[in-house]
């Protein structure tokens, strides 16, 4: 029953024919010895603590297993190359967040995580680099090789050693095995922690409270729906216009199209309001100083502050905008 596949897989590099025979033999031996593994079989050493005994230096032909190990390096290389050549499987790993179809059995391992959807995940046995990470190290030399390999690419799982895979960054699909519910929840947690926005927890939205001094109630805006300060300020203007009518005499007010940063300040300056925000550190900052992305990352809440209250903050800004205009 030796299929060409297994031949390539198991016994390729050094001793093709004998090892396939031995492989077959080994297996037969295994079949015959159904009983407690570990009893009577010549090739099974007592389960000693020395893990090298089974596949140490090949001092007897029972170590067919060790053949497997030794050859595995070469064989597996060959195996995956063959696969690539024949079917052009892409062996680069994809993002772990690929969601799997409902197969009725989508559970994988260890906490019923996700099953990878990738066609033929790079056998993970494949390697171009002599693969010491895969074999359990047939000799202490190989063991030593593991360490430098790990040091060089400590984060790289075996899957990445294939030439086709991008180095270091690629993740194994569906590993570690974490349920998608948990992944989704934690992903939004991370977003929230990074943005440190309070407000409605949702995936992919960023609600922050907006208060305006003197207004009887607060509002909430989703910062993700805006892409720059201009949009934010027009939205705020609309939201709070009912509170600013009659107070505003800035020339820029009615123009709903394109309030620039400076004209927002004009508006607020004209109506004696300053738009400020509380950042991750709890400091109140003037809106508009930093790039938009940085702002949304650090903005926790917004406050439209009366100029007269913004003593420590606004005067410089107010004067700045005065001088800019």
């Amino acid at each position: 029953m030796s299929t060409p596949l297994e031949h390539d897989y198991i016994g390729l590099a050094e001793k093709p024919s004998p090892s396939s025979d031995e492989h077959g033999k080994t297996f037969k031996e295994t079949e015959l010895r159904l009983g407690l593994p570990g009893s009577e079989s010549p090739e099974r050493k007592p389960l000693s603590g020395v893990s090298l005994s089974l596949f140490g230096k090949h001092n007897n032909n029972n170590n067919v297993k060790s053949h497997h190990h030794v050859h595995v390096a070469g064989a597996k290389r060959g195996f995956s190359d063959a696969i690539d050549a024949k079917w052009g499987f892409s062996v680069s790993v994809t993002d772990t967040h690929v969601s799997e179809p409902d197969l009725g059995k989508a559970s994988a391992l260890l906490g019923r995580g996700n099953v990878g959807k990738l066609p033929l995940e790079p056998k993970t046995i494949s390697t171009q680099q002599g693969n010491t990470l895969n074999t359990p190290a047939s000799a202490s030399q190989a063991l030593k090789e593991i360490k430098p390999l790990q040091e060089k690419n400590p984060q790289v799982p075996a899957t990445n050693e294939h030439a086709a895979a991008p180095a270091a960054k690629a993740q194994v699909v569906g590993w570690p095995p974490i349920r998608s519910f948990r992944k989704n929840t934690m992903a939004s947690n991370l977003t929230k922690n990074n943005n440190e926005a309070e407000g409605k927890p949702g995936f992919g939205c960023l609600y922050v409270k907006v208060s305006m001094d003197g207004a009887p109630y607060l509002r909430k805006v989703d910062l993700k729906t805006y892409s720059n300060y201009k949009e934010l300020s027009s939205a705020l203007e609309k939201m709070f216009s009912c509170f600013t009518i009659g107070q505003c005499n800035s020339p820029g007010l009615p123009g709903k199209d394109g309030l620039s940063e400076s004209s927002l300040r004009d508006l607020l300056h004209g109506s004696e309001y300053v738009l400020t925000y509380e950042d991750k550190d709890g400091d109140w900052m003037l809106v508009g100083d930093v790039p938009w992305e940085m702002f949304t990352d650090s903005c926790m809440r917004l406050r439209i502050m009366k100029g007269s209250e913004a003593i420590g903050l606004a005067p410089r800004a107010v004067e700045k905008s005065k001088s800019q205009n």
Binding site: E6, S51, P101, G116
Partner: protein, 486 residues
């Protein structure tokens, strides 16, 4: 089904696609319908829930745990009529949108037998006290978002409400938990038996303060923010602990972000004599630690270890972790469930086959060297029911040699292994009482050589024959035709 069993009372589904139409049928067909549990299901919307709410007069339990629901509006909850009072258990923790909070409060307070209430994240913390006061008999609570502006009145309101729940034994939720609000639960910590903090991204000191007060705790789910120090305190404080799950806060990060190692698990194994169920994500492990854990806790029945980096060796000796896991199966004679990780050779499977006589479920990834590994397991584990394997060099020989074993098991899953299409066909043909399903997204397997490996293989016993409802990338191997495509 509706026609055949009009008196059906309970439906529990897991990982199924359920439509709104199905929910409507359930709602309208079963007059005495009592229990609906949809675990990790999908395909329905809040409209389907509205049908259930409006029609199931005798509903006792509605549990949507971890399902993906298209949340169109929170209005559905209001469809429970005012006369409806039989709710005992409600789990809406997976819903994205806010439900009608007033309707929820009224529902909760008019159902005197409500024992379990698991809210979704959108229920704000300042509404929780009202809900609690409406249901002081609650035994299990899942909070919504556990964060709010820090205001003394909100805090004291909350603490008082918690204190009023004298039967509350199980707490979960705690999304976005603000550490300063955790003390609100201190009044009831001493009565808690189950605590799920696995969504609470708070740091070790706050976790420690909370956990150390829970002297009756039997079950703890927590993030690895608890760190080794926290687990040491846990071991000292919670002598009744039976189950521990530690989840990774940053599983896809390249560097460890917390000081959680194998030592935490060792501490708990030493300090908690009743510990029998473990799920532990970490980034390093040693044979010595596993050995210690095994000797400390021979009463372990479920042991699932996930070392985040595949094929990680013993970090002290750089050896495979065969001996460590071997110690686990050898000493824990009642072990029923085991999940492996780290660098492992065929040796570990030899141990498992030798000692894992009570083992019912085994999960394997990136392990083993040859078919012998699989053969050890299939031939040695007498009570094996479920086996799931990914990315292991297991192939045709072990599978076919142990074909009969598969009929004694509930299921076998193998993905990214070395099982050839030809072998799957043989298996399907030889074993008519098994469904041998091959999943391959790259096209029909018979368009490739027989020796080519299949992506995914799922084998399970059946009295009903092959399925007819499979998507296009699933093929059944059986003896009628080499391939049956549904």
């Amino acid at each position: 089904m509706a026609g055949a069993y009009p008196w059906l009372e309970e439906i529990r589904l897991k990982r199924m696609v359920v439509s709104d139409e199905s929910l409507e049928i359930i709602a309208k067909s079963f007059k005495n319908f009592k229990v609906l549990v949809l675990s990790s299901c999908e395909g329905f919307t809040t409209e389907g829930l509205a049908a259930i709410a409006a029609n199931c007069r005798n509903l006792r339990e509605l549990d949507l745990r971890e399902s993906e629901v298209e949340d169109l509006s929170g209005r559905w909850l209001s469809d429970f009529p005012d006369s409806y009072t039989s709710l005992e258990s409600l789990n809406i923790s997976c819903l994205g949108n806010e439900v009608n909070l007033l309707a929820l409060e009224r529902l909760v307070s008019r159902c005197p037998n409500l024992k379990t209430l698991r809210l979704n994240r959108a229920v704000p913390l300042d509404r929780l006290p009202n809900l609690l006061r409406g249901a002081p008999q609650l035994a299990e609570l899942g909070t919504g978002a556990y964060t709010s502006e820090m205001r003394p009145d909100v805090f004291s309101n909350l603490a008082e409400a918690f204190a009023g729940c004298k039967q509350l034994k199980t707490l979960s939720g705690f999304w976005d938990a603000l550490p300063s609000y955790l003390p609100a639960v201190y009044p009831i910590c001493s009565q808690l038996t189950s605590l799920n903090l696995s969504y609470a991204t708070v740091q070790s000191p706050d976790l420690i303060k909370l956990v150390s007060l829970c002297e009756k705790l039997q079950k703890l789910w927590v993030l690895d923010y608890i760190e080794d120090d926290g687990l040491e305190i846990l071991a000292a404080s919670c002598k009744d602990l039976r189950e521990l799950r530690v989840f990774p806060s940053d599983p896809f990060g390249l560097e460890p972000n917390v000081a959680l190692t194998e030592q935490g698990l060792v501490s708990v194994s030493e300090g908690c004599p009743k510990l029998q169920s473990v799920l532990y994500f970490c980034r390093q492990m040693s044979n010595a630690a596993l050995n210690t854990i095994a000797r400390n806790r021979p009463n372990m029945t479920r042991f699932r270890l996930c070392i985040i980096e595949p094929r990680s060796p013993d970090y002290l000796t750089l050896q495979p972790l065969d001996d460590g896991f071997g110690a686990i199966v050898e000493h824990c004679k009642d072990l029923r469930r085991l999940s492996l990780s780290g660098l492992l050779t065929d040796r570990v499977f030899e141990y498992i086959g030798t000692y894992g006589k009570k083992l019912e479920m085994l999960s394997v990834a990136f392990a083993g060297d040859s078919d012998l590994g699989l053969h050890h397991v299939l031939s040695g584990c007498d009570n094996l029911r479920k086996l799931e394997i990914r990315d292991c060099p297991f192939g045709d020989k072990a599978l076919l040699a142990n074909a009969a074993k598969l009929e004694t098991m509930r299921s076998l899953w193998m993905s990214s292994c070395s099982v050839s299409f030809g072998a799957c066909k043989v298996l399907g043909q030889k074993m008519p009482r098994l469904n041998v399903e091959v999943m391959d997204e790259s096209g029909p397997p018979d368009s490739r050589p027989e020796s080519s490996p299949v992506e995914k293989l799922y084998v399970y016993r059946t009295v009903a024959g092959p399925r007819l409802d499979m998507p296009g990338f699933v093929w059944t191997m059986d003896d009628d035709s080499a391939l049956r495509i549904s």
